[in-house]
């Protein structure tokens, strides 16, 4: 009998198992080949993000991390950037679980005085073209400046830049729709809320956690 017309359950089971085994083998090979480039790409992305949000630094920033609790009990991962031994800033990372479609991960550069220097959204699943635009940093290209080289530095984004250098209110920043004065985008209220909330949590953590920070890293006035 031809295998094509076989209806014996055991034979069918073995056939399916063999096919799965073969596919697992293929995947193992591909995964082995790509694992190094993938982790390298991840590391490069992370290093670039840190360079963008922090002033120039020369220490090994990943050498030491401190996890602080934010007022809403989120863990905030803090790393310190030094230049010539002096603290020039901190990198703070927090995950807001309440985005429009899952978590929004934020990486913020913090000045030594505790104010926000620059914010990046490093991971999000917001609506493409709507919520996602609020999290994106990109230099706008038009047909008039198409041939000009892209400027260096961090592309501006008014929703992320609005917190830079500002003192955080006791309750954190609240979007105008909810009675506060932080910017929000019509149609992307949830994303706007998530951004304002994440920025507030990070800023408040730094406001309240000064003691812990100076204990861990030293040198905070």
């Amino acid at each position: 009998m031809k295998i094509r017309d076989n209806e014996n359950l055991v034979v069918l089971g073995i056939f399916l198992a063999l096919v799965s085994l073969l596919s697992a083998l293929v995947l193992a090979v591909v995964s082995g080949v790509t694992s190094q480039p993938i982790s390298a790409a991840k590391k490069a992305r992370e290093a670039q993000a840190l360079r963008q949000i922090l002033p120039e630094f020369d220490n090994d920033i990943n050498a030491r991390t401190l996890t602080l609790k934010s007022p809403a009990k989120w863990p905030v991962r803090v790393r310190v950037a030094r230049k010539g031994g002096r603290i020039v800033g901190y990198a703070a990372e927090a995950v807001n679980p309440a985005g429009y479609a899952g978590a929004v991960k934020m990486l913020a550069g913090i000045n030594p005085d505790g104010t926000i220097r620059a914010i990046l959204v490093t991971e999000q699943h917001e609506t493409p073209g709507l919520g996602a635009e609020l999290c994106k940093r990109q230099f706008s290209k038009t047909i008039f400046n198409l041939t000009e080289p892209t400027p260096d530095g961090l592309p501006p984004n008014k929703y992320l830049d609005q917190f830079n250098g500002r003192k955080v209110p006791a309750k954190g920043w609240i979007i105008t729709k909810d009675g506060g004065n932080a910017l929000y985008h019509t149609g992307a209220t949830v994303t706007s809320r998530a951004i304002a909330k994440s920025a507030s949590e990070i800023a408040l953590t730094f406001k309240k956690g000064r003691k812990q920070l100076s204990k861990a890293f030293g040198g905070v006035k």
Binding site: I3, V19, V26, V30, S31, I143, G187
Partner: protein
Amino acid sequence: MKKIIETFCKGIWKENPVLVLLLGTCPTLALTTSATNGAGMGLATTFVLVGSNFVISCIAGIVPRKIRIPVYIVVIATFVTVVDLLLQAYAPASLYAALGIFIPLIVVNCIVLGRAEAFASKHNPLLSIFDGLGMGLGFTLTLTMLGIIREFASSGSVFGVKVITAWTTDFLLPGSAPGAFIIVGAILAVRNFLKARAAVKAGKLYVPPAGLDCRHCNICALGKDDE
């Protein structure tokens, strides 16, 4: 040779997977918010389609009929995971960030399983590769076209380049899912109108292309005459 060209070309217009077969509507609606995303998704799908079509037409002769669908799905899922890993490793970060969560969806994209069952399992590997290429190209072109229309209508830019600089506020509808439905619907209506008018002019009744309605497919029991 003639058959290869015919197989290749039919996917682009005559049996376009989105506009005629109406397959793969999920990525069509979800991923065409910008021209870049549409083109990227189309190319990723094309790669999976060509690979899975080739493998499936090679193994179709020995796969027991009873378990052919699970076997096809395993083959397709393997290709999708390979594409996912390759994109993560070698594609620019922005492309992977945009497509990342949609890549696993190619597994359940009806175009891939549909072509495996309707074409690859019945034709030789060479023809199947060209069928995958043609269908993939048709899919890519349609997605890119939709992406261009939606991106331009919502923000005045094409491929991320602002064409109309005076467009300061974004127009939300074309960028959202309802807008995608409306635009796809309008394109389908225009296409069917042209086809029907051509048929009337030729003095014939407009019938959908043969082999494309429910009666000709053998994946499920729907549309079968119950005797």
